[in-house]
């Protein structure tokens, strides 16, 4: 049995080929055309796994763009997929924090990898990848550089959760000569605080998996782990967890 999972997110589109093990795992930018991005990610994943499309018995779609592809056998929300993917990578995990491009979620997972409950940010960019992007833009650095800047720096408090207000706040801080490292660390603390608020709504265990593209930022992972007082399991490719979960759900059905 060969299954594919395609996760069309707001920023990146991910595809995984799974046959009991991960055979291929690919990310492409979503861009303006989620349908084309989904097909392209799938094509690359097949190529990478060295298999033909007709060998795939199940294609499960997830993410915001899941409605846009006709090739899906089934569509499942990213909440269910991240839970399943995290459970595969870390069977002992009971909570998943997923921060993607436009939303953040805290999911509580049972011993079988099923969703027990979840909380999601409200209609606002606070505590999402978008927030980080805007902040990196103000500091004129890449997301990777933002992480490096924060290493060892003392965080300056950034009180605004709103991406627009935080932008003006950071511009103010820069004008006053605050160093970029402290601001970067402050930004991570601000996101960590937001996630902490969200995590208060579901029962959070000590076995937490951090998934979604934002988890690529190790410095942010540390800040969130510290503020929640938990050790975080961060997969090698955290942005792939949703697509992986989708593939597994298809594989198991």
């Amino acid at each position: 049995m060969v299954a594919a999972g395609i996760d069309i997110g707001s920023t990146g589109t991910k595809a995984v080929i799974f046959d009991g093990e991960i055979r291929a795992s690919v990310v492409v930018p979503t861009g303006w055309d989620p349908k084309a991005a989904g097909l392209e990610a799938y094509r690359q994943a097949l190529e990478c796994a060295g298999i033909e499309a007709d060998e795939v018995q199940s294609i499960v779609g997830t993410g915001y763009g899941r409605v846009s592809l006709p090739i899906f056998d089934r569509k499942v929300t990213e909440i269910t997929c991240h839970a399943r993917g995290a459970h595969f990578l870390y069977p002992e995990t009971r909570s998943v924090i997923d921060i993607g491009g436009q939303d953040s979620k805290v999911i509580s997972v049972d011993a079988q990898g099923r969703v027990a409950e979840f909380a999601m940010n409200d209609k606002c960019a606070a505590g999402t990848g978008r927030f980080l992007q805007v902040m990196a833009g103000v500091l004129d650095v890449s997301l990777e550089q933002l992480g490096q800047l924060a290493v060892g720096a003392t965080p300056v408090p950034i009180s605004s959760m709103c991406a627009v207000f935080a932008e003006s706040e950071v511009i103010g801080l820069l004008a006053r000569g605050t160093d970029k490292g402290s601001i970067a660390a402050g930004i991570f603390h601000s996101i960590a605080g937001r996630i902490q608020g969200l995590a208060g709504k579901v029962s959070l265990s000590h076995r937490v998996t951090f998934s979604g593209g934002v988890a690529l930022n190790r410095e942010l992972c540390r800040a969130i782990g510290t503020s929640l007082g938990v050790d975080m399991c961060v997969p090698q490719a955290p942005q792939m967890v949703g697509a992986l979960g989708a593939a597994i759900l298809g594989y198991e059905a």
Partner: protein
């Protein structure tokens, strides 16, 4: 729905028809009292020979107009109600001779101060605790309302008229309960959206007796359809109980999404629906009996509000709900805070999956809500042993 059920069709057209009926009644000298809330003791209005009507407040359309005066962060229900009045786009407000309002939540009572500048408004001071002392006070408030109605409309509210009004409104509650109890059947015979349409439009009826007959006819027709196995759902459809803030047509986004995504809203615990069916238990002192009925409404403006927890627990069992969605409007502090208590109580008792949704009347978060509601339905599916 409409092709197979004549009574539903009739009810779906009620709101427009009733505006005209109301005008005719007004022209013949009938008085009209507009109400906003389940706490309005409608028996007294009926006993005064006036027509009680529900006023509009569930559409996003007049909100921008209201925001010229009211803060944007206020709950959409209050903004919509005020906006309808300000723009004179609610025919029922237009035809009202008197507005009846209660001090329920902070936002409403301050909004009523402004509304009182547009039309005669009688404000009842509602106690926010449900004990004996509060009841004594509430009885006095009912007496004060009787005084106002008698003076404004030059009538006398006699015990006989009061007794007749209690009978009529209990009859209305009986018919509404019977209709909603049909949804205990599996699968539910009518969609949540259709049920909401009926409950919403019924509020604008002028002739209570006629409306009761119409609801009874609908219940009979739906019973027959259900016996024939006709339903928009299957036995597998997740059964959702909706609790929280008032909902109506125009503020139905969550109901619509739940059903578009494959669920069935089988019960509304909200004040336009199941909270409303609790009857007056007539004792020796009729006014006291009416006061008791209204004071025990389990609204989140009461503190504590144990009645809601108990009612929810019962409804989850009776309707065999697979999940509870607690809908709270942005800026509605009482329902938003109480959501925590409700969740904990349901987890400790009936152990049913629970989802709180905080939103407003706009469509701006539809995509986000879809993810949450769909994931919630998936969670219910896997709990029952199915695949997500």
């Amino acid at each position: 729905m409409s092709e197979i059920c004549a009574a539903f069709d009739e009810i779906a057209g009620l709101r427009e028809k009733n505006a005209i009926t109301l005008k005719v009644a007004k022209d013949r000298g009938r008085k009209v009292v507009g109400t906003y809330c389940l706490f309005s003791p409608v028996e007294l209005i009926v006993a005064a020979g006036a027509i009680p009507v529900s006023l509009c407040g569930t559409s996003p359309t007049p909100i921008p107009a209201a925001e010229k005066v009211l803060p944007r962060s206020l709950c959409p229900l209050i903004k919509s109600s005020y906006g309808f009045a300000l723009t004179d786009t609610c025919p029922f407000f237009h035809f009202s001779d008197l507005l009846l309002a209660e001090t329920t939540c902070d936002g409403k009572k301050k909004m009523y101060e402004l509304l009182g500048e547009m039309k005669p408004l009688h404000l009842m001071q509602l106690p926010q605790v449900q004990d004996e002392a509060a009841l004594e006070y509430w009885v006095l408030e009912l007496k004060r309302l009787i005084g106002r109605l008698e003076e404004a409309f030059d009538v006398k509210i006699t015990p006989e008229k009061l007794a007749a009004a209690i009978l009529l409104l209990n009859e209305e509650r009986r018919s509404l309960k019977a209709l909603q109890d049909l949804q205990k059947r599996k699968p539910a015979p009518i969609s949540g959206m259709d049920l909401l349409t009926v409950l919403h439009n019924r509020g604008f009826t002028v002739d209570k007796r006629e409306a009761i007959d119409l609801i009874d006819r609908l219940t009979a027709e739906l019973t027959e359809l259900s016996e024939q196995g006709i339903s928009p759902f299957t036995l597998k459809t997740p059964r959702i109980l909706l609790t929280g803030v008032p909902v109506g047509i125009g503020s139905d986004k969550v109901v619509r999404l739940v059903e578009e995504l494959g669920g069935s809203v089988v019960c509304f615990e909200s004040c336009g629906a199941y909270k409303k069916v609790d009857p007056v238990q007539p004792g020796k002192d009729l006014l006291r009996s009416i006061a008791q009925k209204y004071l025990r409404v389990p609204c989140s403006c009461m503190s504590p509000n144990k009645g809601r927890l108990q009612l929810l627990e019962e409804l989850v069992r009776e309707f065999e709900a697979d999940g509870v969605i607690d809908l709270t409007w942005q800026g509605c502090h009482t329902y938003n805070v109480e959501s925590f208590t409700v969740k904990r109580h349901l987890q400790e008792t009936v152990q049913v999956p629970f989802l709180q949704i905080e939103t407003d009347y706009s469509e701006s978060d539809t995509e986000q809500l879809k993810v949450r509601i769909e994931a919630f339905l998936e969670l219910i599916g896997t709990r029952r042993g199915g695949r997500p």
